[in-house]
Every structure is written in C-alpha cells, then in structure tokens.
Symmetry: C2
Subunit: 270 residues, 2 copies
C-alpha cells in the first residue's frame, strides 16, 4: 500500500515548491508508531512537535487540526508509522522568517512495518560512525528538518547485519544513535547523554526517563565517553518505532545477556 | 508577478511530500541573478551545484535538462533571480540514501529585484550575529538545504538599516555574512575566511578570488578573527545577487571611504 499524505488537511495534496521546509529545512517533525489502528503516544508527540516548533519561532496550528487529520484516516490506519511535519510555510524570499507565515502541516501514513520490527530479539548489532556531530546549542534537542548529518552518517554502512550507528561529537562524547537515543545501565544507574549541544531529544527517551525515575530508578543525563559505553553493564537504544531495544554487540564488544532491559521495556510500555 | 516554478521541467509542478529535500534537507541549491533577460554565471553555477551534489552523493541530472528548463523560460525572464534546487528525490523511508533515487530538479524564477538592489551605494551597515556557526567539515562549503543556522541568525534583527550580519564560529573566527562571503583588504592583501569547518563557498567568492589572483593581487584564504576585521583597510561582502559591496559600518566602527573595492568590483564584473 502506498503512503497516504495529507498536506494542510488535503489528501493527496502536494507541497508548494516555495515552502521554507524545502528551501531551508525550516521546520520540525515527529515519527509515530501505529499499532492496532492507533498512533502511539499521540498527545505527547503533538506536544513535543509544538515545543520544538516554538523554539524555532514557528507558530503551531491548533491541535484540533492534527486531530481532524487523524480522524480523516479513521478505519484506514494500518500498523506502520505516521510522520508529522510542520514547516514555517511559504513567505518572503530570503532567510528571514516572514512576519506573517502560516505553517504547513503534513501528515504521512506509511502502512509498512518499520524495518526495525525484523531486528533480532536477542539484541542489536551497532557500530561507531565516523561522522562527528557538530555542536549547535540553538538547535540541540530539536527534531528539526536539517538532518544531513544523519543522512551522511547512515550512508556510512550498507550491511543489514548492522542495525544502528552510534554518533559521537567532536570532543569524543557519545550523543546518540543515528535514529535513536542511547541509554546505559551501570552500577544500578540509568544514564543517557545530555543533549545540550547536539542530538535529538526523542519522546521515547523522555518517557523512559520519566517512568524509570517514577519507579525509583536513579536516572541521569550526563557526559558519556566511549569507554563508559564499553564498560556499561548493558546499553540500549530507544525511539518511537522500536521502543527500547538492547544492544548485543558494538564492534568486538558483546553484551551476552540483559542486565536491566526487560524491566525497562516493561516500564516503558506500561 | 508571481514566481514561476518548474519541478522536473513541469511548470506549476508541485513537490512530492515524500521528497527527501523536505524531510532531511537532503539537497543543494544556487541563487542566480537575472540581468537583461539572462541568468548571470549560469555555467559556473551549474558546475558548483553539481560539485556540491556530488559531495553529498547525489547524482546530478544532465546539464541539458537545466538548459531545457531555462529555454522554457525564454522571453519570460525578468530582472530578478533564479533559484536552482536539486534534492536526492524520493525513496525508501529513513535516513539511508536509497540505492536508486532520481534527483528532483527545481527551477524557480522570481521576477522581483532583490532587496539588496536598494542598499546604499556608499556602503553597507552590518552587525555581528549572536549565533555561532557549528563546525562540520563534511558539510562545510556546500550550499546545502540545511540552513536553519542562517534562518535563526537572520531572525536576530528586524531593522532595515542593518543590511547583513557577520557570522563567527564557536572559536571566534569570522566565517561569513548570513547570506554572503566576506573579504578583507589589508596591507595590499585580499583575505577571505577559509571554509573548511563551516560556511558556504559562493560562486561570487570563487570568481573574485580567481580574477583578483589573475590580476596580480595577493589573495589568501585564512583564519580571520574579529580584530582583524576591525583593523582591515576595507571590508566587503559578496554573493551572486549583490556581486561585491563594501561595508561602511560595523557597529561603532566605520570605513568612510573605499580602499580597493572599486577596482575589485571592476575585476569582478569584467
């Protein structure tokens, strides 16, 4: 089945070639998993989309418009994903954001199970990417449409045996996976890289931090070097499609069995 | 007059909402000035567009296709600008570039004189932007579609008296203007920031470096700090719309009269 696209609510609508989302990547997005005909964590994803847009000075549409788009797809949602994109819209030429722009709202439903559904249950095989993420505090944490670093990093390998790549910054700190956030379990603590200089703060990440903390687990956003990753009792990756998945191998290093991930997965999905 | 858009050669064509140019900023662009019914530096711009695309692994269309687009507009080109955009096209979901993607080719003709045409002949008034450019050698120099840093920097001021902002990197080196390249004249040397870590290498910049050098002027791409900018005998900005323009004021600092710019403008336009 092909994807269904709604552009400003219009099914099969096309994007204006003058849209700033195309010209500058001037917008934000979220990817949601559809399960049993419903997008997972809908409210939370909409809230983060709006918060990211606000950081760029993009005025979000009323949530009721997204809700109407979703209603439009009622009975047609297959297990797969929904991607929401919000751009600053069209407007005056040049980099300066127009004084009065109407954001462009795009909902895409792809009724194909994500490739990650076919990843092995026993754990993922990851690599270290050569590309180093650049530091930009004004954009760090935002799931914006400037994603060439991710594209170039993901282009570094083409072997299906490798599921994900880890991204470091120029100082050697480990930040995330190419399409996921990173968690470490070490000495009874749940650690994840802080995202003040680069990286994307996923909804799955926020959810796990919140739920683990509520369950009495010590959680910390901190600096994490590669040595600390290798010495961790377990490492895990999260995003809205995979939820939380353990890593079984990173280069020569292996983690043969889980230390905490089953408990965290349970928390996560609860 | 509204803009004319050709998408893959089709006038009034729209962009597929699945295009990677929108989703990831996965593409490149050039802006050309139209004068007397002809786009300036056409061949050179096409060559740089293709070179930038190649750095991202995007296969460029035959130049004859761009040529056909231009022919399509014959007799309809008003003084203003042409923007060429080339994206990696549509393809499989996710960051990984599809094995077989057909690039999307977009030509936009905006028959409105650029705002820079109304800037004062005696020199520009520029400011220092607060935003610091991030360092990413894999993307430095490429005029790619990930331009949120430029958007945020340009949003820092809203006063028409300020014509352009200078961008520094995190180490304090001066890199460029928000939409222009920077040149300094000092002790008989023409200096411009090297663009190995960030910034966009414009066609106007390349052209001036080449022609100045051929005219026997000592030119150098180098590290340039803010002090060196303030102590320069003259500072100038270049891009394909403005050509080369002198700066008359940067904050409290003024350069009351030209030192070299008239000669360089002559070289540049020759």
């Amino acid at each position: 089945m092909p994807a269904i696209c709604l552009v400003n609510g219009i099914e099969g609508g096309a994007l204006d070639p003058l849209d700033r989302g195309l010209h500058y990547g001037d917008g934000v997005f979220r990817t949601l998993r559809v399960e049993n005909g419903r997008p997972r964590w809908w409210e939370e994803q909409l809230a983060k989309l709006a918060a990211d847009a606000a950081r760029l000075g993009i005025v979000s549409p009323e949530a009721s418009l997204w809700q109407a788009d979703l209603a439009n797809l009622a009975g047609r949602l297959a297990d797969g994903l929904i991607k929401l994109l919000l751009t600053r819209g069209c407007g005056a030429r040049g980099y300066r954001p127009p004084d009065a722009a109407t954001a462009t709202r795009i909902l895409i439903h792809d009724p194909t199970p994500p490739v990650s559904d076919f990843w092995p249950a026993e754990g993922l095989n990851v690599r270290i990417c050569d590309l180093r993420l650049s530091a930009q505090p004004h954009l760090a944490g935002i799931k914006h449409l400037n994603r060439l670093e991710n594209v170039l990093a993901r282009a570094e390998w083409n072997t299906p045996e490798i599921h994900e790549g880890l991204l470091l910054d120029a100082t050697g700190q480990v930040i995330s996976g190419v399409m996921s956030n990173l968690f470490l379990w070490r000495d009874g603590h749940l650690l994840t890289p802080h995202l003040e200089q680069c990286g994307v703060a996923g909804v799955a990440r926020a959810r796990l931090l919140r739920r683990a903390s509520a369950a009495g687990i010590a959680v910390k956003e901190t600096n994490i070097g590669l040595d600390e990753v290798l010495e961790a009792d377990e490492i895990m990756l999260s995003n809205s499609l995979i939820g939380l998945r353990r890593v079984a191998r990173l280069g020569e290093h292996t983690w043969p069995k889980p230390a905490i991930s089953p408990q965290l997965v349970a928390l996560f999905d609860a």
